[in-house]
């Protein structure tokens, strides 16, 4: 099996192999079925490129951030303020808290909007948030799962001192690195497989075998 690399975009097979492949292609009938040797149409190539780009861009964890403790820290801090205590019903309390945090400007604004909750929800996690904060924990490393604050299951990177890993939701993780590797080797492997065929400029004459 000879490999030719002097003109890889034309063919990776030598002329003798190409002649042999053309003879087989034209000379035998596969149950009465014929095959042409057309290349992928250019719009379809663009579509595939767009698909690969989209696959990475749409799956960033940014678009699916989970609620974490830090998101609700500002809410919890406002719960016991006299303004909130003065309000009679829970809906009004929650509205006041949300509006207040929004007006102050929060780095978590987008996620707070995405993960709204009610006063009862807030009451269930309030104690845990205060406890974690007092223990010096990074609240962003804790996910809110129902009524519990649990250590996020992000593997993350080791801190510089090697003491522990950061458990923050990343915008990129090793899953994406594996994907880059996967997609790259797939493209290379398919190109090699296709370039071993006779060049697409040649089309079989189906009258020979049919």
């Amino acid at each position: 099996m000879v490999w030719v690399f002097n003109n890889p975009l034309y063919s990776l097979s030598d002329e003798e192999q190409n002649v042999s492949a053309r003879e087989v292609w034209e000379g035998e009938s596969l149950g009465g079925i014929m095959e042409d040797n057309n290349r992928l149409p250019q719009p379809v190539v663009w579509l595939l490129g767009l698909t690969i780009m989209t696959a990475f861009m749409i799956t960033f964890p940014l678009w699916g951030q989970r609620p974490n403790g830090a998101m609700y820290e500002e809410y919890v801090a406002l719960m016991d303020t006299p303004e909130v205590q003065a309000l009679s019903d829970d809906k009004a309390k929650m509205k006041f808290i949300v509006d207040k945090v929004k007006s102050q400007g929060s780095v978590w604004a987008a996620l707070q909007e995405r993960h709204p909750l009610e006063m009862d929800d807030l009451r269930m996690i309030k104690g845990q948030i205060i406890e974690l904060k007092n223990a010096g924990k990074n609240l962003a490393e804790f996910s809110v799962v129902g009524d519990k604050m649990v250590m996020a299951n992000f593997e993350g990177n080791m801190l510089p001192d090697g003491s522990r890993r950061e458990r923050l939701q990343p915008w990129w993780d090793k899953g994406y690195t594996i994907d880059v590797f996967y997609v790259t080797y797939f493209c290379i492997a398919v190109m090699i497989a296709v370039k071993r065929l006779p060049n697409h400029e040649w089309q079989p004459d189906h009258d020979k075998a049919h």
Binding site: V24, W25, E28, S29, L30, G31, G32, I33, M34, E35, D36, N37, N38, R39, L40, P41, V44, L47, L48, T51, I52, T54, A55, F56, I58, T59, P61, W63, G64, N153, F154, E155, Q169, P170, D173, K174, G175, Y176, I178, D179, Y182, V183, F186, A189, V190, A193, V194, L197, H200, P204, H206
Partner: protein
Amino acid sequence: MFKYLFAKGDDIPRGTAAVYFGISSIIWFVIGTGLGSFNAAKLAFPDFVTGSEFFSFGHMRQVHVMAVIFGWISMAFAMAMMYITPALGNTKLWSEKLGVWNCFLWNVGLSLALCLLWAGISSGREYSDFPWFIDIYVLAFIGIPLGLNVWMTVIKRRTQGIYTTNWFFAGAVFMVWIVLFVGNLPEYFQLTGLTEAYLTWWFAHNVLGLWITPVAAAIAYYTVPKITGNPLYSHRIGHLHFWSVVVFYSTPAAHHLMSSPLPEWLKSFASVEGVLILVPAIAFVSNLILTMTGKWHYFVDNVETKFTMTGVLLAIPLNMQGGFQQTRAINWYIHGTGWIVAHAHLALLGFSTFLEASAVYYGLQTIMRRKLYSLALANFHFWFLLIGFCTYWISMTIAGLIQGAAKIYEVPYIDTVIAEHPYMIARWVGGTMVFTGNCVWLYNMWMTAREGTLIPEGRLPHELAYER
């Protein structure tokens, strides 16, 4: 069938196994969709058939699912493999007798397995509901004999080249062995918790991705060039399709469990690959559409092409949905709702069923050398299947969106049930139309076998469709 089980191999006419598989698949399709219609009626009308646990939804649901997957879809695949694999290799099936035994043991095993499910003996794992001893039976007496026959037929072919369809057939029968073995490991080794959940969805994902999708596509690669007489547009795109199915579909399947505590990097990996299932879909659809160039009138005139191209075109919404619904941005909303049920039916009742039906229609006529008894009934079947399926798909998609909204906004459950009730009735109407169409199909094929006009040597069934 029984007379061929112990006959000498040479005494069994060519195509016998394919005919048995073909007829069995139609019967299972009638049973499977009948059960589906019954189950849908229970969801639409809660007072319908009560008082017996055997007719409760919890007992009946998995019987419907497994009858359709293992009875209809997989037997139609086996039928296609039994006649297309040798035809493309200019040879005969490696062992017609093994094929007949395979069909016999398949029917016996499936009947037993469904009775067990009906009685409530189940693994409790969706799509791999069979208990462990049935899983072993499926692998030993269904998967391995089928794969062996396909592989040996390909190996013993009388051509140098192997046509695209046979790559898919041979690849899929091998991959499904792995899926059946690995996917059922939780039952063999008592794996529980997250590991069990993960492997359950790894199995469900790959049964679809490495068995149903590639084999259905392989059928289109055969029927379209065969019937239209056009060459397949591109052998090269066939490579792209085949390898992208193998690479992108076989990934971890963690995107089925986006809200679970699986490692996030694993979900990211699976989620990107989940979108990339559009790569094989684009390759497949573009190759088949371009193959139809100049022959689109077959889409109207020819019943097998009508089925095939409808299946091919349904691959577009199927993969658009499948690719994007699993992303974090969308999955949180539709997960666990009727949207997923609609999507599953788009895959199994839409895309793949139309392709399998074309293979069974074409194969039975070709092997029995009998023209279709009634083209009108075949068209009736097509339209009932299509309209019934669309009614089901659209109504369940809407119901899913209602459920998603209700889930997020914490609407009381009973209010959700009331809101989606009209769509449950539409679901039952759609499913019942599919069932009715299939009853007509069974009658039509039965009459084709008994009274269909004989096709002379050297002619093909579709050439005679409009001749009296």
